[in-house]
Amino acid sequence: MRLIVIFILVIFIAAGVVLGALNADMVSYDLAFAQMRLPKGAALLSAMLIGWVLGGLTAWLGVSSERRRAQRELLRNAKNPPANP
């Protein structure tokens, strides 16, 4: 399993290098507050990286808030146990 993961990773790195080399021409961005010029490949990579990080962050926030809520509920139940029916 680990070998397969390494293999896929190597393929993706190679593809990234090839794509970066083929799309080395610069593109300009106007973000209203700033203007920048980036290679096409780097723009692609940064868009994907930002998307990945934002996705991960959203999921992490969701899971941790769920867990905190569950802990609060557990604590509340421990302090005031529900009466036996």
């Binding site: 593109v27 096409k40 723009a43 692609l44 868009a47 994907m48 990286l49 930002i50 998307g51 990945w52 990080v53 934002l54 996705g55 991960g56 962050l57 959203t58 999921a59 992490w60 969701g62 899971v63 941790s64 867990r67």
Partner: protein, 390 residues
């Protein structure tokens, strides 16, 4: 495809992938994956409780593959293999666990203990002994290791080492092991008696009494030693003390006791003792002994009358057989033939009957054993009380 469109498509895809990866990692950390593991564990446990060991092994094997670090799963698997009799697989598994680098000391000692049990099961007692001795020296699971060592020494009949380790176990756990130690001294005494070392046998018996003052076996062995030395008055005292210590052993004690009564010409004392026993003991042995006594002293008629009267109060196949034997001489012809058939029948009925049963594991035996051959506990085999037995 122009660049902004490509970026617009790839960024949400990356977002979804990032979200999914984070959820997966979070789930693994928070225990969702563990709960999947636990559900498998409980499934395995359920199979075990339902005596479906094949299915349990399958589940546990899958669990062990899923998480190679789960030492407990490997231990459970090894235990299962051992219980199923696949000792070589259990040994390999536990050896693998012991040799695994990075295993905590406490887990390693548990694996060592299990490995020792595997060796015991495989009959490799020397290896098991070495392992358990190491565990005792390390003071890791020492009580369990000591118990295993004691059972190894019992198996090897090395009673001195068994006594030494039983005493250590007593000190370690604070539990009383003196009845077991008394039995070990009785074994030593019996061995010395058989080898003719009578003084040594007496010393061992004294030590057995020091451990357990009401040790029936020690009283019986004392009686036997005295009887063999022709000291029948002392033998009678020892045998009577044995019955007073535990009346359940009466069927075992009565034959040599009656012999010593006869040899020391104390038949009046025998009658008084047996009469007194009738009220305390509800088996047939004292009745048969008294019948024998009355036959010798007062004749056949008095013996049969006494036996018939007693059989009405305590019906017993052994008593019936004694009655048939007593009346055989007085009958002739067809009735005698019928009585012969009846006698053979009762004889066969008694032959197929277990006369003793272990009060701990229920093991049935025809002869008396001081140590149960099944559960290896001492002094738990007792006569069965019932119509077909005592």
């Amino acid at each position: 495809m122009n660049l902004p469109l490509l970026l617009g498509a790839l960024a949400p895809a990356a977002f979804v992938l990032g979200w999914w990866a984070s959820r997966r990692v979070g789930a693994r950390r928070s225990g969702t994956a563990v709960s999947e593991l636990s559900s498998d564990y409980f499934r395995g446990l359920n199979y075990l409780l339902n005596e479906e060991q094949d299915k349990a092994i399958e589940v546990f094997l899958k669990l062990a593959e899923y998480n190679r670090d789960t030492v407990e799963t490997h231990l459970a698997l090894g235990n299962l293999f051992r219980r199923r009799g696949e000792v070589d697989r259990a040994i390999r598994l536990h050896q693998h666990l012991v040799s695994r680098p990075g295993l905590s000391d406490s887990m390693k000692t548990v694996a060592l203990l299990e490995l020792g049990e595997d060796y015991m099961r495989a009959g490799l007692l020397d290896r098991a002994e070495a392992l358990f001795t190491d565990l005792v020296v390390m003071n890791a699971h020492a009580p369990s290791a000591l118990r295993h060592l004691i059972s190894i020494y019992q198996h090897e009949r090395d009673w001195h080492k068994a006594i030494e380790h039983a005493r250590r176990l007593e000190v370690m756990t604070g539990e009383e092991e003196t009845p077991m130690i008394a039995q070990f001294y009785c074994e030593l005494a019996d061995r010395s008696r058989q080898h003719g070392a009578r003084a040594e046998a007496r010393d061992y018996l004294q030590q057995a009494f020091d451990c357990q003052p009401d040790c029936v076996r020690a009283f019986m062995l004392t009686g036997r030693l005295q009887a063999e030395d022709d000291h029948h008055i002392e033998a009678v005292q020892a045998y009577e003390a044995a019955i007073n210590a535990d009346i359940a052993f009466t069927p075992e004690i009565l034959p040599p006791l009656l012999n010593s009564y006869a040899r020391s010409q104390q038949m009046e004392r025998a009658e008084v003792f047996l009469r007194e026993m009738l009220s305390r003991y509800h088996g047939i042995s004292p009745v048969l002994a008294l019948t024998h006594l009355y036959r010798q002293r007062d004749g056949e008629r008095a013996a049969v009358d006494f036996l018939t009267m007693q059989l009405r109060q305590r019906p017993s196949v052994r008593g019936l057989m004694a009655l048939i034997d007593a009346t055989m001489d007085k009958i002739e012809g067809e009735v005698r033939e019928n009585f012969l058939i009846l006698r053979d029948l009762t004889k066969k009925l008694l032959e197929g009957q277990a006369m003793y049963r272990c009060s701990r594991c229920g093991f049935g035996a025809k002869a008396h054993h001081w140590q149960c051959p099944s559960c290896k506990s001492w002094s738990t085999i007792r006569p069965i009380h019932g119509v077909a037995s005592e």
